[in-house]
Structure formats: C-alpha cells, structure tokens
C-alpha cells in the first residue's frame, strides 16, 4: 500500500489514531490521578489538620449516664443522633465501661499532649520523655507516635548515592566500550547480557544480596553489621546498571558515524575518537541516563527492604543499617488504620518521594536542553 501523501486518511487509520490518542491521554490522566490520590491522603498532615495527640479527657463514672442529659451523653460517647436513639440502656452502659477501660490502657506520659505530626517533630530532633537527649526517631508504633522523617530521608540518599557511585562508572564504561570499541561479534553478546540484568526481578536480587553478597562483603571488609547501606547500595546499583547502560549506549550510538569517521581519517586512534569526539557529543544523553538511574534507585523498594537492615538511624556511616523511605512505606502501610495519622504520614513520605523524583527529572531535562543547545551551537 505504502504511504499516501496528501490523501485523506482512511477510516481505519483515523480510528487507530484516535485510539492511540485516547490511550496516551489516559496514561497522562492516570499519572495525574495517582498524584491527586497520594496528595489527597497526605494533605491533611501537610496543612496541620491531623493530630496524633494521645491524651484524652478524663472518663466519667458509669453512673454519670443517669445524671447527664441525653445530649451531653451523646456528645461524650461520640455517637450520631441515629446511633444514640437505636441503643438501649445496656449498650450505653457497656460503652461507658469501655471508656474507663480505654483510659486505663493509656500509659501516662508527659508527651501525650503533643501533636507529633507537626512539622517541628517531623524535621527536627526532640527530646522525648524516655530519652536522655534530643533525637531523630521514627517509631510510629509506640505509646507516643514519633514520626521524624530525617533518618528515612538520609537513609534513602545514602543507599542511592552508593548505588550511583557503583553503577554510573560501571555502566558508562560498559556503554562506551560496547558502542565504540568492541568488535561487533563481542557487542552482540555483551549488550544483551547486561540488559538481561534488568530481567532479574528485584526480589531475587534482594535475596541474592541478603544471602550471598552480605556474607561475601562482610568477610571481605570485616565490618560489624551484615546488612548495611553499603550492601544495599551495591545491590541497588545492580538494578540500575541496565537502565543507565541502555540509555547511555543509545545516546552514544546515535552520535553520527561521520564524527568518528572524520576523527579516524584525521589520524585519531579508535580510543581517542571515542573519548574526545563521541563521548562529548553524547553528554546530554549520558546525563539523562544518570538522572533516570537516580530515579530508579531512589524509588526501588524490594532490594532495600530485604538487604538494608531496616534500622532508622540518622548517621553518616555507610556501614550501618539504614531504612529507606520506600521500604518504610512497603513494610508499614499494610497494618495502618486507613485515614489515621500513621497512614497519612506514609503518604507524606510518598509525596516527598514523588516531589524528589519529579524535581530531579525536571532539573535533568533543563540541563540536557542547555547541554544540547551548547553542543549543537545554538543559543
């Protein structure tokens, strides 16, 4: 059939085109909806509308049900008018008793009146009543719910930085080798082999790190904690090697062949042509590869959940266990009360993650455009 230029599109083509448009629009709508959902769950905390203060008013004795007016009683028990009218005396009485039991369960603490989801407790150290100095703690399941997010943020950054330090040089070197230096027969083997790594499920990679890599690295370096930021970073690096590699390799391959040929014709060695001509020309693409690798690392969950040791410590040390934002959400969301403060705090973490990846992608985009402009001699 071939392409008919200037002809009116046929009905089938029109339908196909509209269908594709609808699919792509629905993808955009999906992203938007997800963001809306995450934001909606997190916003009450961000706006300070959620309180986790545990202190309650003192309960009234059971006999008070005879002296209070129905309206007072209803307000005290927190019932709706309909619920209240449908209940008999026995039910009301057992509700009064339960109130007293509930207050007996509360452990007295001078922190009970604090709203621990306020910003200053989320971001700054605080001296809780059981502690002898101000600390950054994430202890959401506790008499006093402590939600300091700094240990988690630092944990995520620590593992991501290790992962990038490990994966970026490795995958860029591999990309340069495969696209520029390797002979075609080698290339046919190496490229799919590296890309196969992305076919390894992250849970398998995590288990591998937990069972094999952890022991190997510990006996190699002799550090104290078997599971730590370093180990998690290395395992995380393995998940983003294929991402960085394939984008970088594409970027390098798409540099016009004539550049290399010109360099070779002028007497440059293969290595010099690759290093001094092709790599600089592909810089925007290489940069994009690293940015995407960062996004993959900071969002990866399974590997860090399994191999990081999951202890929310705020420390600069790479050989101590860490807990990342993603692992925290995955491990804790299942048991939270929907709409409760713990649940909402996990969504705040999700929003944070969303914003961080969004901003890095945006910054990456801007830088790529600038670099491209400079390389191509445009403004």
């Amino acid at each position: 059939m071939g392409i008919r230029r200037g002809h009116q599109a046929r009905l089938g083509e029109v339908i196909a085109e509209k269908l594709i448009l609808a699919i792509s629009l629905s993808t955009i709508a999906m992203v938007f909806l997800i963001f809306l959902f995450v934001g909606r769950e997190a916003f009450p905390v961000l706006l300070g509308r959620v309180s986790s203060a545990a202190a309650q008013e003192k309960p009234l004795p059971v006999e008070a049900m005879n002296t209070l007016t129905p309206a007072q009683l209803r307000a005290y028990l927190g019932l709706s008018a309909q619920e209240f009218s449908s209940m008999d005396r026995d039910t009301i009485q057992s509700l009064m008793e339960v109130r007293i039991e509930a207050s007996a369960e509360e452990k007295p603490s001078r922190d009970a009146e604090l709203n621990t989801v306020a910003w200053r407790y989320l971001l700054f150290p605080f001296q809780w009543s059981d502690y002898d100095k101000p600390v950054y703690v994430w202890q959401p399941v506790s008499g006093i719910h402590k939600y300091n997010i700094m240990p988690l943020v630092v944990g995520s950054l620590k593992t991501t930085i290790v992962a990038l330090l490990f994966a970026v040089p490795l995958s860029l070197a591999a990309a340069i080798y495969v696209s520029q230096l390797a002979n075609p027969r080698w290339k046919e083997w190496i490229k799919p082999a590296i890309e196969m790594l992305s076919a390894v499920p992250s849970v398998v990679l995590g288990a591998f790190a937990l069972l094999v890599l952890a022991t190997a690295l510990q006996s190699l370096f002799g550090y104290q904690y078997r599971l730590n930021a370093f180990l998690a970073g290395i395992a995380l690096g393995l998940t983003c090697v294929p991402v960085i590699f394939s984008i970088a390799e594409d970027a390098l391959t798409s540099v016009p062949r004539s550049y290399t040929q010109a360099a070779l014709a002028l007497g440059a060695s293969k290595w010099a042509a690759a290093w001094q001509i092709v790599v600089p020309a592909a810089i925007p693409g290489l940069f994009a590869a690293v940015v995407l690798g960062f996004g993959r690392c900071i969002g990866e969950t399974m590997v860090v959940l399994i191999a990081s040791g999951n202890a929310a410590i705020l420390s600069p040390s790479l050989i101590e266990p860490v807990r990342t934002i993603t692992a925290t959400i995955a491990a804790e969301l299942g048991e939270t009360v929907v709409g409760g403060h713990h649940y909402r705090m996990l969504f705040v973490l999700g929003t944070l993650l969303f914003i961080v990846t969004f901003l890095t992608n945006l910054a990456g985009d801007v830088v790529i455009h600038r670099l491209k402009g400079r390389l191509e001699g445009k403004k």
Binding site: T91, L95, R99, V141, R226, L227, N310, A311, A331, E335
Partner: protein
C-alpha cells in the same frame, strides 16, 4: 436448533442447581492476625475435610485489620495475636451493640535467640529490655564476651513486635539501631550467621540459633522456653492467641467450627504449625 435449545436449557438448569447448592452450603469467613494465618488455614482445611458442607475462608492482614472487619461485619471470626483494645471494643459495641466474645485458641511462647557460639545462656527480662532499648550495647555487660550487641527485631506491623514491645520492653521504644526483618525465619537466619546477634521469635521455631533461658527478675529462676514451661505459664514471655466474634453469630456452623477448634482434634493442628495447644483446663471459659 431444538437440540441446541435443550442443551442450553440443561446447562442453565444445572448452573442454577449448583448455585443454589452453594447458597445452602455455609461459608465462614475468618480474617485477622498474620501470625495465625497458617494456623487458621490448617484449621480450615482439616475442618472442611471433616464437614464438606461448610466452607471456611481464611485471610490475614493483621490483628487490627481483623477487628476492623469484625466491626464492619465483613468477617464472621477475627483472629488476633493480642487482646482486643478498649477502643476496638467501643467500635464493636457501636456496630452490633454487644461486646465481641473472646476465645483463647492456642498458646505461643516467644524465644530470645542468640548465636550458637555466644556463651550467654540466660538473661532476665530486665536485661533483655535494656539490650533492646539500647541501654546495654555490649555483651560483656550481661556476662558475655567483649563484643557489641547486634539487635534484630521485626517490622512494626507484626503482632510479634507489638507483643514483645508490650511484654518485654514495657511499652518503651526499641533502640533505633535494631534492624527490622520481615519474618521469624529471617531473624533466625540473621542470628545464625552473626556471632554477636540477638533476635526474638516463636519458641517452636529455631533451628540454627540458641534459645536463651529467661528469668522474670535478675538472679531469678532462668527457664527454658519449652512446651511444658509455656503451658505452665512459668516461662515469662508467652501469650494467648485469640479468636473474636459477634456473640449473635455464635450458632450453627460457626459455633460448630469454634467448638471443633477447641477440641482435641483442632488442638492437634496447633502443634503442627508451631504453636502450643491449650491445656484442657483452659479450653472452657
């Protein structure tokens, strides 16, 4: 054509018949504690084999999830590895104007594990508390070698975590350095491969690590976590596993199922899963 019509009719009729049969057969839903999912499923399997007309469906999600489902009437029975809280009772009363009925269905002891090479053989509850809250950080302070203590704990969504925190730490926070793992098997694996580690988990688990003797107070009788000591409530770290239900539903098939769970046959299953069966004098309540 007529052949086809008859065929269609027969299919429709048999479909309707099978549907109505299903409606007759009772279905019991059980939801709650993840600690008890396997136990619940084993119970369900054994019970359905005995009484094929009843279908029992078991799902997990955690003790709290089970209570929430009980309030919303989305489940007939809620499994729980901890006692119901007053707040949850209040919700139940609001939903069905009665306190939920509670049955203990099994017992569970928590062991404290250390590495086989660790010479420490007994600890008091207070020492364990100091270790897990980060007050004691070196084995030499509790009679071991001069080596840092590596803490292993469970995710805070687990019932075991909450129980340990309540019973042993008396509600205090775990030290931040405590590493959290997703299951008892992982804790055991970690303790087995780390000479300075300490962990905790079900008493019936535990090849590969040493179960420590625990005493109520320092210098008191240190007791091994075994079936006898847990059942006699001598070993200090033990708990009941419970089921809760709406008292109005306790009739017919649900009652039969519950009675069976608390019978000798039902309690035999408990042991296969790694918990301890209730001694007969505790079954009636």
């Amino acid at each position: 054509m007529p052949m086809n019509m008859t065929f269609l009719r027969i299919t429709l009729l048999s479909l309707a018949a099978s549907l109505s049969l299903q409606a007759v057969a009772g279905e019991i839903t059980v939801k709650g504690s993840d600690t008890m999912v396997i136990l619940g499923q084993k119970w369900a399997e054994a019970y359905m084999q005995k009484t094929p007309t009843t279908k029992v469906q078991v799902t997990g999600g955690g003790s709290g999830t089970g209570f929430a489902a009980l309030q919303n009437k989305q489940t007939d029975i809620a499994n729980a590895s901890r006692k119901i809280r007053a707040k949850e009772i209040e919700q139940c009363i609001k939903a069905f104007s009665k306190r939920p009925r509670e049955y203990a269905v099994a017992m569970d002891g928590l062991s404290v594990y250390v590495n086989e090479k660790n010479p420490v053989a007994a600890l008091s509850l207070e020492e364990i508390r100091d270790i897990y809250t980060g007050k004691v950080t070196n084995w030499k302070d509790v009679g071991g070698p001069d080596a840092p203590i590596i803490l292993y704990s469970r995710e805070n969504s687990s019932g075991t975590y909450e129980f340990f925190k309540e019973k042993v730490l008396q509600g205090k926070d775990f030290a931040s350095k405590a590493q959290t793992l997703a299951g008892t098997a992982q804790v055991l694996q970690a303790v087995a491969s780390d000479a300075n580690a300490i962990g905790y988990g079900g008493a019936a688990y535990g090849a590969g690590a040493k179960h420590i003797k625990v005493s109520e107070t320092k210098g008191g009788d240190a007791i091994d976590p075994t079936e006898e000591t847990v059942l006699a409530q001598k070993y200090p770290i033990w708990r009941y596993l419970f089921v809760y239900l709406n008292p109005e539903l306790e009739k017919g098939e649900i009652k039969e199922d519950l009675d069976w769970i608390r019978s000798d046959d039902g309690q035999k299953v408990v042991k296969d899963v790694g918990y301890f069966p209730l001694p007969p004098h505790l079954r009636k309540k």
